[in-house]
């Protein structure tokens, strides 16, 4: 099974020598982020073992930290890492051949395929296979996401731990356990058989959407977003769609991600600050992505088998249609949220519906709708409540809500934005 190559508009920015500065630590971190997923996926296929692949990649990067500062960054850093990691893996398998019989066998079988190792089509398939391994139903959902972020997203264990509010040691243990289960239970490194695909794809979509969201608003760190993660999620979603072209929820998720990603340039001001949907310069929205997203939403509507991702895509498409926030068809959005609630009667959906209701029926009605929702630890609950209160002129309560919101996020840009909301509310007439 071969998946498509990367589309040009969303291709991951490959790190080349030209784009690298000479300050090695940052360079190596950049290369790690963009390349480690490819290299791990390739080595897992080659040697049949996640742990060997991961350790080899770490050793290759360690070698890079020793060599690049003195020798200079190689012309093709990703290729250098791939070659070095492959050598490290082979060395280890030879050294520990008794302990690693499966990898010895895999190594013997794969002896002839070294020459295709840099073929992006092959790598692409490798990544897709690894996604299905990471999202195997025999792994706990929390482990599925963590493993995908670690192996394919190139996130460090402490970053994933912060993203999921658990201590680093807990996350490290969760990852170790998941990798051990892949090895000991012999979870295959394959795209599932056609019969199993629909059932297996649901978990993959959940994980891809979580990765997209982590890229869209990083839970921590200085940057608003990590475009490599959002684009990776989109790329993998395209590949999954090729496997199951008739499953409309995949189409819906792809449309949803494209339409959200289309706003990327408008979401961030020149200082790296967060710009709200209502304040965004919509001329900066990526019309090519919007056109593709709209076409996908239309395809879903024609087939008329709605599902949660399709409905969320339709909501985002309504936003994309509006030239300004005031042109938004809020009644249509509220209607779509009502439909979504049928599939997902969750408090988060109710919160989002209330935001649309606020535009239609005013903040007082919206405030009453979110009162008592069990969302006290959800990072978007408090700022939403704060906005409603601010609009009602209840500045003190609004400020308290924004302050509460700050305690629930570690994203620098979000925190800065909330501070501006507090200042704005402070200057409101009481």
């Amino acid at each position: 099974m071969r998946a498509t190559r990367r589309s040009s508009s969303l291709s991951k920015q490959r790190v080349t020598a030209d784009t690298l500065s000479h300050s090695a630590p940052e360079t190596i971190a950049d290369v790690f982020r963009s390349e480690s997923g490819d290299v791990i996926a390739t080595l897992v296929r080659r040697f049949g073992d996640v742990d060997i692949a991961e350790v080899a990649v770490q050793e290759a990067f360690l070698a890079a930290t020793e060599r690049w500062p003195t020798d200079g960054v190689p012309p093709n850093p990703g290729g250098w890492i791939m070659t070095t990691a492959r050598r490290k893996a082979i060395d280890r398998i030879r050294r520990e051949s008794i302990r690693l019989p499966r990898s010895v066998a895999a190594m013997a079988l794969g002896a002839h395929d070294d020459e295709v190792i840099n073929d992006t089509g092959v790598i692409h398939d490798d990544r897709l296979r690894l996604v299905f391994t990471c999202c195997h139903p025999s792994l706990a959902p929390a482990a599925q996401v963590a493993l995908t972020l670690r192996l394919l997203g190139g996130l460090q264990v402490d970053e994933i731990a912060r993203a999921y509010f658990v201590p680093e040691s807990t996350m490290a243990q969760r990852l170790v356990r998941a990798k051990r289960k892949i090895r000991d239970a012999n979870i295959p490194y394959l795209i599932p058989e056609a019969d199993d695909l629909p059932e297996r794809v649901a978990a993959v979509l959940t994980v891809l959407y979580l990765i997209f969201n982590e890229g869209h608003t990083t839970t921590n760190g200085a940057a608003i977003a990590r475009d490599d993660l959002t684009e990776e999620a989109i790329r993998l979603c395209r590949a999954v769609r090729e496997l199951l072209p008739h499953q409309l929820e995949i189409v819906g998720l792809l449309a949803l991600m494209l339409l959200i990603h289309a706003r990327r340039a408008a979401r961030e001001d020149i200082h790296g600050g967060l710009v709200r949907l209502g304040d965004q310069d919509r001329t900066k929205w990526n019309q090519q992505l919007i056109a593709e997203g709209h076409a996908l939403v239309r395809e879903c509507l024609q087939r008329n088998q709605p599902g949660p991702y399709q409905i969320q895509a339709a909501i985002t498409a309504v936003h994309a249609d509006a030239r300004t926030i005031h042109d938004t068809d809020w009644a249509q959005i509220v209607k779509l949220y009502d439909q979504l609630l049928v599939f997902q009667p969750s408090p988060v959906v109710q919160l989002n519906r209330a935001i649309a209701v606020a535009e239609l029926d005013g903040p007082e009605v919206a405030l009453s709708l979110i009162k008592g929702l069990p969302l006290k630890t959800y990072h978007l609950y408090h700022p939403t409540r704060g906005e409603f209160l601010a609009r009602l002129g209840q500045s003190e309560a609004a400020i308290r809500a924004f302050e509460e919101a700050i305690s629930h996020t570690a994203n620098r840009a979000e925190i800065d934005f909330l501070h501006t909301r507090i200042s704005a509310s402070t200057s409101l007439p009481k």
Binding site: A185, I187, P188, L190, D196
Partner: protein, 117 residues
Amino acid sequence: MTQYLLAVYGVADQPNYTSPEDQEKAFAAVGVFNTQLQDSGSFVFGGGLMPADIATVVRPDGDGFVVTDGPFSEAKEHIGGFWVIEANDLDAALAWAKQGSAACGQPVEVLPFQSNE
């Protein structure tokens, strides 16, 4: 190839089947499944077990042994039967487990054997 234990679980003091007809149907289905498993070459060993309260527990005690009335586990759920199969990977084992579970109408736990490679 990995060997897997497919363990069928039931709840103690609770009949696994609501009627004799149900039980008969399940037994017949398990028979069909056993044949399929054997014909595929994946079957290693298997069988149904007596109720857990029939079990006896033996444990080492100094130089001798203590023998007590079982079962060992105080859990309500007990293993009621099992298959040992050989499969390419976990997905293949899970496919057999699904069929086995459908046949006997009980949950099946899939656990790989330690490899002696």
